[in-house]
Amino acid sequence: MKNQDRIVITGAGIICSLGQHIQNIWEDILQGKAISQPIPEQWSTYSDFKSQFWAPLPKRDYSCYGLGRSDKLRMDEVTMLSIGASYQALETANLSFSPRDDKANRFVIEDYTPHRFGIYFGTGTGGINTTLSAHTTHLLKQKAVESDYNIPFEKRYNPLAVSMLMPNAAAAATGIRFGAEGPNRTTSLACASGTAAIGEAFQAIKRGDIDVALSGGMEFLSDPYGSIFRSYDITGALTRGFNEADACNRPFDQHRNGFLFGEGGAGVLVLERESHAKARNATIWAELCGFEETFDCHNLMSIEPSGQQIKNMIHKSISNCGFTNNDFTYINAHGTGTSINDEVELNIIESIFGQKPLINSTKGFIGHTIGASGAIEAAITALSFRDNLIHPCNNLVNPIRDLNFPLQSITKPIGPAISQSFAFGGHNCCLILNDY
Protein backbone atom coordinates (compact mmCIF):
# COMPACT_ATOMS: atom_id res chain seq x y z
CA MET A 1 0.00 0.00 0.00
CA LYS A 2 1.44 3.38 -0.93
CA ASN A 3 -0.46 5.82 1.25
CA GLN A 4 2.18 8.48 0.73
CA ASP A 5 1.18 8.61 -2.92
CA ARG A 6 -0.38 11.78 -4.24
CA ILE A 7 -3.90 11.63 -5.66
CA VAL A 8 -4.28 12.74 -9.25
CA ILE A 9 -7.05 13.56 -11.72
CA THR A 10 -6.59 11.73 -15.01
CA GLY A 11 -9.93 12.24 -16.75
CA ALA A 12 -13.36 13.82 -16.45
CA GLY A 13 -16.77 13.90 -18.07
CA ILE A 14 -19.52 16.52 -18.04
CA ILE A 15 -23.09 16.70 -19.26
CA CYS A 16 -24.82 20.05 -18.71
CA SER A 17 -26.90 22.72 -20.43
CA LEU A 18 -24.01 23.41 -22.82
CA GLY A 19 -23.88 19.85 -24.13
CA GLN A 20 -22.76 16.32 -23.48
CA HIS A 21 -19.06 16.33 -24.35
CA ILE A 22 -16.59 17.82 -21.91
CA GLN A 23 -14.19 19.26 -24.46
CA ASN A 24 -16.95 21.09 -26.35
CA ILE A 25 -18.42 22.39 -23.10
CA TRP A 26 -15.01 23.63 -21.97
CA GLU A 27 -14.40 25.43 -25.27
CA ASP A 28 -17.86 27.04 -25.13
CA ILE A 29 -17.28 28.33 -21.59
CA LEU A 30 -13.87 29.71 -22.53
CA GLN A 31 -15.57 31.61 -25.36
CA GLY A 32 -18.18 32.98 -22.97
CA LYS A 33 -21.14 30.98 -24.26
CA ALA A 34 -23.92 30.79 -21.67
CA ILE A 35 -27.30 29.03 -21.65
CA SER A 36 -30.46 30.73 -20.43
CA GLN A 37 -33.92 30.17 -21.90
CA PRO A 38 -37.56 30.92 -21.05
CA ILE A 39 -39.22 28.24 -18.92
CA PRO A 40 -41.66 25.94 -20.80
CA GLU A 41 -44.93 27.68 -21.62
CA GLN A 42 -47.02 24.72 -20.44
CA TRP A 43 -45.80 25.17 -16.86
CA SER A 44 -47.93 28.34 -16.60
CA THR A 45 -50.99 26.02 -16.59
CA TYR A 46 -50.07 25.00 -13.06
CA SER A 47 -48.60 28.11 -11.42
CA ASP A 48 -47.33 31.64 -11.85
CA PHE A 49 -43.59 31.72 -11.45
CA LYS A 50 -41.44 34.58 -10.18
CA SER A 51 -38.50 33.38 -12.23
CA GLN A 52 -39.04 33.11 -15.98
CA PHE A 53 -35.76 31.55 -17.11
CA TRP A 54 -33.82 28.33 -16.67
CA ALA A 55 -30.88 26.45 -18.17
CA PRO A 56 -32.34 23.31 -19.78
CA LEU A 57 -30.31 20.34 -20.89
CA PRO A 58 -30.04 19.96 -24.67
CA LYS A 59 -31.52 16.87 -26.31
CA ARG A 60 -29.32 13.97 -25.25
CA ASP A 61 -27.97 11.09 -27.30
CA TYR A 62 -27.12 8.35 -24.83
CA SER A 63 -26.36 5.74 -27.46
CA CYS A 64 -22.79 7.06 -27.70
CA TYR A 65 -22.31 5.88 -24.10
CA GLY A 66 -23.65 2.42 -24.87
CA LEU A 67 -27.08 3.10 -23.40
CA GLY A 68 -29.96 1.54 -25.32
CA ARG A 69 -33.69 1.04 -25.22
CA SER A 70 -33.77 -1.18 -22.16
CA ASP A 71 -31.51 1.19 -20.20
CA LYS A 72 -33.97 4.02 -20.83
CA LEU A 73 -36.74 1.84 -19.41
CA ARG A 74 -34.72 0.83 -16.36
CA MET A 75 -32.98 4.06 -15.44
CA ASP A 76 -34.01 7.46 -14.21
CA GLU A 77 -32.48 10.24 -16.26
CA VAL A 78 -30.09 11.02 -13.39
CA THR A 79 -28.59 7.54 -13.76
CA MET A 80 -28.15 7.92 -17.51
CA LEU A 81 -26.45 11.29 -16.95
CA SER A 82 -24.12 9.55 -14.48
CA ILE A 83 -23.21 6.75 -16.84
CA GLY A 84 -22.72 9.23 -19.70
CA ALA A 85 -20.37 11.42 -17.68
CA SER A 86 -18.56 8.34 -16.33
CA TYR A 87 -18.11 6.92 -19.83
CA GLN A 88 -16.59 10.24 -20.95
CA ALA A 89 -14.36 10.35 -17.87
CA LEU A 90 -12.98 6.88 -18.58
CA GLU A 91 -12.46 7.72 -22.24
CA THR A 92 -10.62 10.96 -21.48
CA ALA A 93 -8.46 9.02 -19.02
CA ASN A 94 -7.45 6.84 -21.99
CA LEU A 95 -8.77 3.70 -20.40
CA SER A 96 -9.86 0.87 -22.60
CA PHE A 97 -12.89 -1.09 -21.56
CA SER A 98 -14.20 -4.25 -23.10
CA PRO A 99 -17.54 -6.09 -22.77
CA ARG A 100 -17.64 -8.36 -19.71
CA ASP A 101 -19.54 -11.13 -21.54
CA ASP A 102 -21.37 -11.70 -24.79
CA LYS A 103 -23.88 -9.06 -23.76
CA ALA A 104 -22.67 -5.66 -24.88
CA ASN A 105 -23.82 -3.58 -21.92
CA ARG A 106 -21.36 -4.32 -19.11
CA PHE A 107 -17.67 -3.59 -19.22
CA VAL A 108 -14.35 -4.49 -17.68
CA ILE A 109 -11.75 -1.73 -17.33
CA GLU A 110 -8.57 -3.44 -18.39
CA ASP A 111 -6.12 -1.43 -16.23
CA TYR A 112 -8.13 -1.69 -13.02
CA THR A 113 -8.37 -4.34 -10.33
CA PRO A 114 -12.14 -4.52 -9.83
CA HIS A 115 -12.19 -4.57 -6.01
CA ARG A 116 -9.74 -1.60 -5.87
CA PHE A 117 -12.03 0.49 -8.09
CA GLY A 118 -14.73 2.49 -6.26
CA ILE A 119 -17.68 4.70 -7.10
CA TYR A 120 -18.33 7.84 -5.04
CA PHE A 121 -21.30 9.88 -6.23
CA GLY A 122 -23.32 12.74 -4.82
CA THR A 123 -26.84 13.84 -5.63
CA GLY A 124 -29.30 16.20 -4.00
CA THR A 125 -32.48 14.41 -5.00
CA GLY A 126 -31.61 11.15 -6.78
CA GLY A 127 -34.39 9.82 -8.98
CA ILE A 128 -36.95 12.48 -8.12
CA ASN A 129 -38.20 12.49 -11.70
CA THR A 130 -39.26 8.85 -11.34
CA THR A 131 -40.76 9.51 -7.91
CA LEU A 132 -42.95 12.28 -9.25
CA SER A 133 -43.85 10.41 -12.41
CA ALA A 134 -44.93 7.25 -10.54
CA HIS A 135 -46.84 9.33 -8.01
CA THR A 136 -48.64 11.25 -10.75
CA THR A 137 -49.63 8.06 -12.57
CA HIS A 138 -50.81 6.51 -9.30
CA LEU A 139 -53.02 9.51 -8.56
CA LEU A 140 -54.29 10.46 -11.98
CA LYS A 141 -54.63 7.36 -14.11
CA GLN A 142 -58.17 6.37 -13.19
CA LYS A 143 -59.47 9.90 -12.57
CA ALA A 144 -57.91 11.28 -15.73
CA VAL A 145 -59.59 8.60 -17.81
CA GLU A 146 -62.91 9.26 -16.14
CA SER A 147 -62.78 13.03 -16.18
CA ASP A 148 -60.88 13.74 -19.35
CA TYR A 149 -58.35 15.92 -17.52
CA ASN A 150 -55.91 17.47 -19.92
CA ILE A 151 -52.84 16.59 -17.87
CA PRO A 152 -49.96 14.76 -19.55
CA PHE A 153 -48.67 11.80 -17.57
CA GLU A 154 -47.19 8.34 -18.03
CA LYS A 155 -50.07 5.92 -18.55
CA ARG A 156 -48.14 2.91 -17.26
CA TYR A 157 -47.25 2.79 -13.59
CA ASN A 158 -43.55 2.07 -13.71
CA PRO A 159 -42.92 -1.43 -12.33
CA LEU A 160 -39.24 -0.56 -11.86
CA ALA A 161 -39.92 2.66 -9.93
CA VAL A 162 -38.06 1.63 -6.76
CA SER A 163 -34.81 0.76 -8.50
CA MET A 164 -34.99 4.03 -10.43
CA LEU A 165 -35.94 6.51 -7.73
CA MET A 166 -33.58 5.37 -4.95
CA PRO A 167 -30.78 7.94 -4.52
CA ASN A 168 -28.05 5.28 -4.76
CA ALA A 169 -29.30 3.99 -8.13
CA ALA A 170 -26.89 6.15 -10.15
CA ALA A 171 -23.82 4.93 -8.26
CA ALA A 172 -24.97 1.32 -8.23
CA ALA A 173 -25.85 1.23 -11.93
CA THR A 174 -22.54 2.88 -12.83
CA GLY A 175 -20.61 0.39 -10.70
CA ILE A 176 -22.40 -2.51 -12.38
CA ARG A 177 -21.84 -1.09 -15.85
CA PHE A 178 -18.09 -0.56 -15.42
CA GLY A 179 -17.29 -3.50 -13.17
CA ALA A 180 -16.32 -1.44 -10.11
CA GLU A 181 -16.43 -3.91 -7.24
CA GLY A 182 -14.93 -1.58 -4.62
CA PRO A 183 -16.92 0.69 -2.29
CA ASN A 184 -20.02 2.12 -3.90
CA ARG A 185 -21.23 5.19 -2.02
CA THR A 186 -23.83 7.91 -2.46
CA THR A 187 -23.67 11.19 -0.57
CA SER A 188 -26.42 13.76 -0.35
CA LEU A 189 -25.44 17.27 0.71
CA ALA A 190 -27.66 19.33 -1.62
CA CYS A 191 -25.51 21.76 -3.65
CA ALA A 192 -22.29 20.39 -2.14
CA SER A 193 -23.07 16.74 -2.96
CA GLY A 194 -20.64 16.41 -5.87
CA THR A 195 -17.81 18.14 -4.02
CA ALA A 196 -18.36 15.97 -0.96
CA ALA A 197 -18.38 12.80 -3.06
CA ILE A 198 -15.05 13.70 -4.66
CA GLY A 199 -13.70 14.41 -1.19
CA GLU A 200 -14.81 11.00 0.04
CA ALA A 201 -13.16 9.28 -2.92
CA PHE A 202 -9.99 11.28 -2.23
CA GLN A 203 -10.01 10.13 1.40
CA ALA A 204 -10.64 6.50 0.41
CA ILE A 205 -7.63 6.47 -1.92
CA LYS A 206 -5.55 8.28 0.69
CA ARG A 207 -6.48 5.66 3.31
CA GLY A 208 -5.43 2.91 0.94
CA ASP A 209 -8.93 1.45 0.53
CA ILE A 210 -8.85 1.72 -3.28
CA ASP A 211 -6.54 2.79 -6.11
CA VAL A 212 -9.04 4.37 -8.46
CA ALA A 213 -12.44 6.02 -8.25
CA LEU A 214 -15.10 7.43 -10.48
CA SER A 215 -16.35 10.31 -8.34
CA GLY A 216 -18.71 13.16 -8.96
CA GLY A 217 -22.20 14.55 -8.75
CA MET A 218 -25.40 14.32 -10.74
CA GLU A 219 -28.89 15.80 -10.75
CA PHE A 220 -32.01 15.79 -12.91
CA LEU A 221 -34.64 18.31 -11.84
CA SER A 222 -37.25 18.21 -14.55
CA ASP A 223 -40.92 17.31 -14.60
CA PRO A 224 -43.66 18.12 -17.13
CA TYR A 225 -45.46 20.53 -14.78
CA GLY A 226 -42.63 22.68 -13.39
CA SER A 227 -43.23 21.30 -9.91
CA ILE A 228 -39.55 20.95 -9.00
CA PHE A 229 -38.77 24.38 -10.45
CA ARG A 230 -41.61 25.79 -8.33
CA SER A 231 -40.10 24.41 -5.13
CA TYR A 232 -36.99 26.52 -5.74
CA ASP A 233 -38.86 29.47 -7.23
CA ILE A 234 -41.09 29.81 -4.19
CA THR A 235 -38.06 30.27 -1.93
CA GLY A 236 -37.10 33.43 -3.82
CA ALA A 237 -33.67 31.99 -4.58
CA LEU A 238 -34.02 32.11 -8.37
CA THR A 239 -33.16 34.99 -10.67
CA ARG A 240 -36.21 37.15 -11.45
CA GLY A 241 -37.36 40.43 -12.95
CA PHE A 242 -35.18 40.30 -16.04
CA ASN A 243 -36.72 40.72 -19.48
CA GLU A 244 -33.75 39.27 -21.33
CA ALA A 245 -32.75 35.66 -20.78
CA ASP A 246 -29.11 36.45 -21.45
CA ALA A 247 -28.94 39.04 -18.65
CA CYS A 248 -30.39 37.12 -15.72
CA ASN A 249 -27.41 34.94 -14.74
CA ARG A 250 -24.80 37.32 -13.33
CA PRO A 251 -22.86 36.08 -10.29
CA PHE A 252 -20.92 38.76 -8.35
CA ASP A 253 -22.61 41.60 -10.23
CA GLN A 254 -24.46 44.38 -8.42
CA HIS A 255 -27.65 43.61 -10.36
CA ARG A 256 -27.74 39.89 -9.56
CA ASN A 257 -30.77 38.71 -7.61
CA GLY A 258 -30.78 34.90 -7.68
CA PHE A 259 -29.44 31.79 -9.36
CA LEU A 260 -30.41 30.42 -12.75
CA PHE A 261 -32.09 27.04 -12.23
CA GLY A 262 -30.38 24.27 -14.18
CA GLU A 263 -32.42 21.33 -15.42
CA GLY A 264 -29.62 19.00 -14.43
CA GLY A 265 -26.32 17.50 -15.37
CA ALA A 266 -23.44 15.38 -14.21
CA GLY A 267 -19.75 15.79 -13.58
CA VAL A 268 -17.51 12.78 -12.97
CA LEU A 269 -13.75 12.66 -12.38
CA VAL A 270 -11.31 9.77 -12.59
CA LEU A 271 -9.22 9.95 -9.41
CA GLU A 272 -6.19 7.71 -9.19
CA ARG A 273 -3.34 6.99 -6.88
CA GLU A 274 -0.28 8.62 -8.46
CA SER A 275 1.69 5.36 -8.74
CA HIS A 276 -1.28 3.69 -10.39
CA ALA A 277 -1.65 6.46 -12.95
CA LYS A 278 2.06 6.46 -13.69
CA ALA A 279 2.16 2.69 -14.09
CA ARG A 280 -0.27 2.93 -16.97
CA ASN A 281 1.34 6.08 -18.42
CA ALA A 282 -1.76 8.17 -17.85
CA THR A 283 -1.83 11.87 -18.65
CA ILE A 284 -2.25 13.67 -15.34
CA TRP A 285 -4.45 16.76 -15.52
CA ALA A 286 -3.91 17.99 -11.96
CA GLU A 287 -3.23 16.86 -8.43
CA LEU A 288 -6.06 16.72 -5.92
CA CYS A 289 -4.26 17.83 -2.77
CA GLY A 290 -6.98 18.15 -0.19
CA PHE A 291 -10.59 18.13 0.89
CA GLU A 292 -12.30 19.70 3.88
CA GLU A 293 -15.84 20.23 5.05
CA THR A 294 -17.63 22.16 7.77
CA PHE A 295 -21.23 22.70 8.81
CA ASP A 296 -22.75 26.13 9.49
CA CYS A 297 -25.17 24.87 12.16
CA HIS A 298 -27.23 27.98 11.45
CA ASN A 299 -30.15 27.73 8.98
CA LEU A 300 -31.48 25.16 6.51
CA MET A 301 -31.91 27.63 3.68
CA SER A 302 -29.50 30.49 4.27
CA ILE A 303 -25.74 30.82 4.55
CA GLU A 304 -24.38 31.99 7.91
CA PRO A 305 -23.59 35.67 7.29
CA SER A 306 -20.17 35.85 8.96
CA GLY A 307 -18.95 32.84 6.95
CA GLN A 308 -16.89 31.73 9.94
CA GLN A 309 -17.32 28.02 9.33
CA ILE A 310 -16.33 28.42 5.69
CA LYS A 311 -13.26 30.37 6.76
CA ASN A 312 -12.41 27.58 9.20
CA MET A 313 -12.73 25.04 6.39
CA ILE A 314 -10.48 26.95 4.00
CA HIS A 315 -7.82 27.66 6.64
CA LYS A 316 -7.74 23.99 7.64
CA SER A 317 -7.52 22.74 4.06
CA ILE A 318 -4.69 25.16 3.21
CA SER A 319 -2.77 24.18 6.30
CA ASN A 320 -3.28 20.42 5.78
CA CYS A 321 -1.91 20.71 2.26
CA GLY A 322 1.15 22.63 3.43
CA PHE A 323 0.31 25.78 1.47
CA THR A 324 0.01 29.39 2.58
CA ASN A 325 -2.82 31.78 1.73
CA ASN A 326 -0.54 33.67 -0.61
CA ASP A 327 0.12 30.59 -2.75
CA PHE A 328 -3.40 30.54 -4.17
CA THR A 329 -3.88 31.82 -7.70
CA TYR A 330 -7.38 30.69 -8.66
CA ILE A 331 -10.73 30.13 -6.99
CA ASN A 332 -13.59 28.43 -8.81
CA ALA A 333 -16.24 29.95 -6.58
CA HIS A 334 -19.62 28.59 -5.52
CA GLY A 335 -20.84 31.79 -7.23
CA THR A 336 -24.58 31.24 -7.38
CA GLY A 337 -25.66 34.79 -8.09
CA THR A 338 -27.91 35.11 -5.04
CA SER A 339 -27.52 38.35 -3.12
CA ILE A 340 -26.32 36.94 0.17
CA ASN A 341 -24.24 34.00 -1.07
CA ASP A 342 -22.08 36.10 -3.36
CA GLU A 343 -21.68 38.78 -0.72
CA VAL A 344 -20.58 36.33 1.98
CA GLU A 345 -18.37 34.31 -0.38
CA LEU A 346 -16.46 37.35 -1.61
CA ASN A 347 -16.03 38.66 1.95
CA ILE A 348 -14.46 35.33 2.86
CA ILE A 349 -12.21 35.21 -0.21
CA GLU A 350 -11.02 38.80 0.28
CA SER A 351 -10.34 38.29 3.98
CA ILE A 352 -8.26 35.15 3.39
CA PHE A 353 -6.62 35.70 0.02
CA GLY A 354 -6.78 39.45 -0.60
CA GLN A 355 -7.05 40.57 -4.21
CA LYS A 356 -4.58 38.16 -5.78
CA PRO A 357 -6.42 35.01 -6.94
CA LEU A 358 -8.48 34.90 -10.09
CA ILE A 359 -12.14 34.25 -9.24
CA ASN A 360 -14.87 32.95 -11.53
CA SER A 361 -18.20 31.16 -11.41
CA THR A 362 -18.94 28.26 -13.74
CA LYS A 363 -22.62 28.47 -12.73
CA GLY A 364 -22.68 31.82 -14.51
CA PHE A 365 -22.58 29.92 -17.82
CA ILE A 366 -24.47 26.66 -17.22
CA GLY A 367 -26.89 27.50 -14.39
CA HIS A 368 -26.99 25.85 -10.99
CA THR A 369 -27.19 22.06 -11.24
CA ILE A 370 -27.43 21.50 -7.46
CA GLY A 371 -25.83 18.12 -6.63
CA ALA A 372 -23.90 18.04 -9.90
CA SER A 373 -22.53 21.58 -9.65
CA GLY A 374 -19.52 21.03 -7.39
CA ALA A 375 -18.28 18.08 -9.46
CA ILE A 376 -18.71 19.94 -12.74
CA GLU A 377 -16.77 22.84 -11.23
CA ALA A 378 -14.02 20.51 -10.01
CA ALA A 379 -13.76 19.11 -13.54
CA ILE A 380 -13.56 22.66 -14.96
CA THR A 381 -10.84 23.49 -12.43
CA ALA A 382 -8.91 20.36 -13.47
CA LEU A 383 -9.23 21.46 -17.12
CA SER A 384 -7.83 24.87 -16.14
CA PHE A 385 -4.71 23.12 -14.88
CA ARG A 386 -4.52 20.80 -17.89
CA ASP A 387 -4.72 23.64 -20.41
CA ASN A 388 -3.42 26.63 -18.39
CA LEU A 389 -6.67 28.46 -19.14
CA ILE A 390 -9.09 30.28 -16.82
CA HIS A 391 -12.62 30.94 -18.03
CA PRO A 392 -14.22 34.39 -17.71
CA CYS A 393 -17.12 35.60 -15.58
CA ASN A 394 -20.50 35.97 -17.26
CA ASN A 395 -22.39 39.27 -17.24
CA LEU A 396 -20.05 40.80 -14.70
CA VAL A 397 -20.52 44.50 -15.45
CA ASN A 398 -20.44 46.04 -11.97
CA PRO A 399 -18.62 43.70 -9.56
CA ILE A 400 -19.63 43.99 -5.92
CA ARG A 401 -15.97 43.84 -4.85
CA ASP A 402 -12.75 45.05 -6.38
CA LEU A 403 -11.29 41.57 -6.82
CA ASN A 404 -9.53 39.70 -9.59
CA PHE A 405 -12.40 38.65 -11.86
CA PRO A 406 -11.39 37.62 -15.41
CA LEU A 407 -13.67 39.22 -18.00
CA GLN A 408 -12.07 37.27 -20.85
CA SER A 409 -10.43 33.87 -20.85
CA ILE A 410 -6.91 34.04 -19.52
CA THR A 411 -4.01 31.85 -20.57
CA LYS A 412 -1.81 31.42 -17.55
CA PRO A 413 -0.17 28.60 -15.62
CA ILE A 414 -1.83 28.42 -12.24
CA GLY A 415 -0.70 27.27 -8.83
CA PRO A 416 -2.89 25.98 -6.01
CA ALA A 417 -6.62 26.49 -6.56
CA ILE A 418 -9.83 25.97 -4.61
CA SER A 419 -13.16 24.68 -5.87
CA GLN A 420 -15.78 25.26 -3.20
CA SER A 421 -19.47 24.56 -2.63
CA PHE A 422 -21.97 25.75 -0.02
CA ALA A 423 -25.27 23.92 0.32
CA PHE A 424 -28.81 24.29 1.59
CA GLY A 425 -28.66 22.75 5.05
CA GLY A 426 -25.44 24.57 5.89
CA HIS A 427 -22.88 22.14 4.42
CA ASN A 428 -19.61 23.58 3.18
CA CYS A 429 -17.05 21.58 1.18
CA CYS A 430 -13.87 22.49 -0.64
CA LEU A 431 -11.30 20.75 -2.81
CA ILE A 432 -7.73 21.94 -3.28
CA LEU A 433 -6.12 21.23 -6.62
CA ASN A 434 -2.63 21.95 -7.84
CA ASP A 435 -0.53 21.70 -10.94
CA TYR A 436 1.13 18.32 -11.27
Binding site: R74, N105, R156, L160
Partner: protein, 93 residues
Protein backbone atom coordinates in the same frame (compact mmCIF):
# COMPACT_ATOMS: atom_id res chain seq x y z
CA UNK B 1 -43.52 -22.90 -35.65
CA UNK B 2 -44.87 -19.37 -35.81
CA UNK B 3 -48.64 -19.55 -35.73
CA UNK B 4 -50.04 -16.06 -35.69
CA UNK B 5 -52.60 -16.31 -38.49
CA UNK B 6 -50.82 -13.38 -40.10
CA UNK B 7 -49.62 -13.53 -43.68
CA UNK B 8 -45.99 -14.48 -44.29
CA UNK B 9 -44.68 -10.94 -44.74
CA UNK B 10 -46.43 -9.72 -41.61
CA UNK B 11 -45.24 -12.77 -39.74
CA UNK B 12 -41.62 -12.19 -40.77
CA UNK B 13 -41.89 -8.52 -39.88
CA UNK B 14 -43.39 -9.40 -36.50
CA UNK B 15 -40.66 -11.92 -35.80
CA UNK B 16 -37.99 -9.39 -36.76
CA UNK B 17 -39.44 -6.73 -34.48
CA UNK B 18 -39.76 -9.08 -31.51
CA UNK B 19 -36.19 -10.32 -31.97
CA UNK B 20 -35.00 -6.74 -32.30
CA UNK B 21 -36.59 -5.82 -28.96
CA UNK B 22 -35.13 -8.93 -27.31
CA UNK B 23 -31.68 -8.06 -28.68
CA UNK B 24 -31.96 -4.50 -27.35
CA UNK B 25 -33.08 -5.60 -23.91
CA UNK B 26 -30.67 -8.49 -23.44
CA UNK B 27 -27.64 -6.99 -25.16
CA UNK B 28 -27.35 -10.15 -27.26
CA UNK B 29 -26.83 -9.94 -31.01
CA UNK B 30 -29.95 -10.68 -33.02
CA UNK B 31 -28.27 -13.46 -35.02
CA UNK B 32 -27.65 -15.35 -31.77
CA UNK B 33 -31.38 -15.59 -31.07
CA UNK B 34 -33.46 -18.65 -31.98
CA UNK B 35 -37.17 -19.21 -31.70
CA UNK B 36 -36.80 -22.16 -29.36
CA UNK B 37 -34.76 -20.23 -26.81
CA UNK B 38 -36.26 -20.08 -23.32
CA UNK B 39 -36.96 -16.57 -22.05
CA UNK B 40 -35.91 -17.36 -18.51
CA UNK B 41 -33.13 -19.88 -19.08
CA UNK B 42 -31.44 -18.48 -22.17
CA UNK B 43 -32.24 -14.79 -22.34
CA UNK B 44 -33.21 -12.87 -19.25
CA UNK B 45 -31.30 -13.20 -16.03
CA UNK B 46 -33.92 -12.06 -13.55
CA UNK B 47 -37.36 -10.58 -13.00
CA UNK B 48 -36.12 -7.07 -13.80
CA UNK B 49 -34.96 -8.22 -17.22
CA UNK B 50 -38.32 -9.88 -17.79
CA UNK B 51 -40.27 -6.77 -16.73
CA UNK B 52 -38.04 -4.63 -18.96
CA UNK B 53 -38.62 -6.95 -21.91
CA UNK B 54 -42.40 -6.72 -21.61
CA UNK B 55 -42.28 -2.92 -21.15
CA UNK B 56 -40.18 -2.65 -24.30
CA UNK B 57 -42.62 -4.87 -26.18
CA UNK B 58 -45.54 -2.73 -24.99
CA UNK B 59 -43.78 0.35 -26.33
CA UNK B 60 -42.78 -1.32 -29.61
CA UNK B 61 -46.25 -2.62 -30.47
CA UNK B 62 -48.43 -0.05 -28.69
CA UNK B 63 -50.07 -2.83 -26.72
CA UNK B 64 -50.83 -3.19 -23.07
CA UNK B 65 -49.57 -6.59 -21.90
CA UNK B 66 -51.28 -7.54 -18.62
CA UNK B 67 -49.06 -9.43 -16.21
CA UNK B 68 -51.59 -12.21 -15.73
CA UNK B 69 -51.43 -13.09 -19.42
CA UNK B 70 -47.70 -13.60 -19.74
CA UNK B 71 -47.33 -16.62 -17.45
CA UNK B 72 -47.60 -19.27 -20.20
CA UNK B 73 -44.95 -17.56 -22.37
CA UNK B 74 -41.84 -19.68 -22.11
CA UNK B 75 -39.97 -19.31 -25.40
CA UNK B 76 -39.32 -16.70 -28.05
CA UNK B 77 -41.74 -18.56 -30.30
CA UNK B 78 -44.46 -18.32 -27.61
CA UNK B 79 -43.74 -14.62 -27.38
CA UNK B 80 -44.01 -14.02 -31.13
CA UNK B 81 -47.31 -15.93 -31.20
CA UNK B 82 -48.62 -14.04 -28.19
CA UNK B 83 -47.85 -10.66 -29.75
CA UNK B 84 -49.30 -11.82 -33.07
CA UNK B 85 -52.59 -12.80 -31.46
CA UNK B 86 -52.81 -9.52 -29.58
CA UNK B 87 -52.15 -7.55 -32.73
CA UNK B 88 -54.91 -9.42 -34.49
CA UNK B 89 -57.35 -8.48 -31.74
CA UNK B 90 -55.99 -4.98 -31.28
CA UNK B 91 -53.99 -3.72 -34.28
CA UNK B 92 -50.60 -2.07 -33.86
CA UNK B 93 -50.82 1.60 -32.95
Amino acid sequence: MINTSLNDASSQNLKYRVLSVIADVTGLKQDKLHLDMSLMDDLVADSVDRVTLFMALEDEFGQSIPEDEIGPIKSIEDLVNFIGHRLKRNPDV
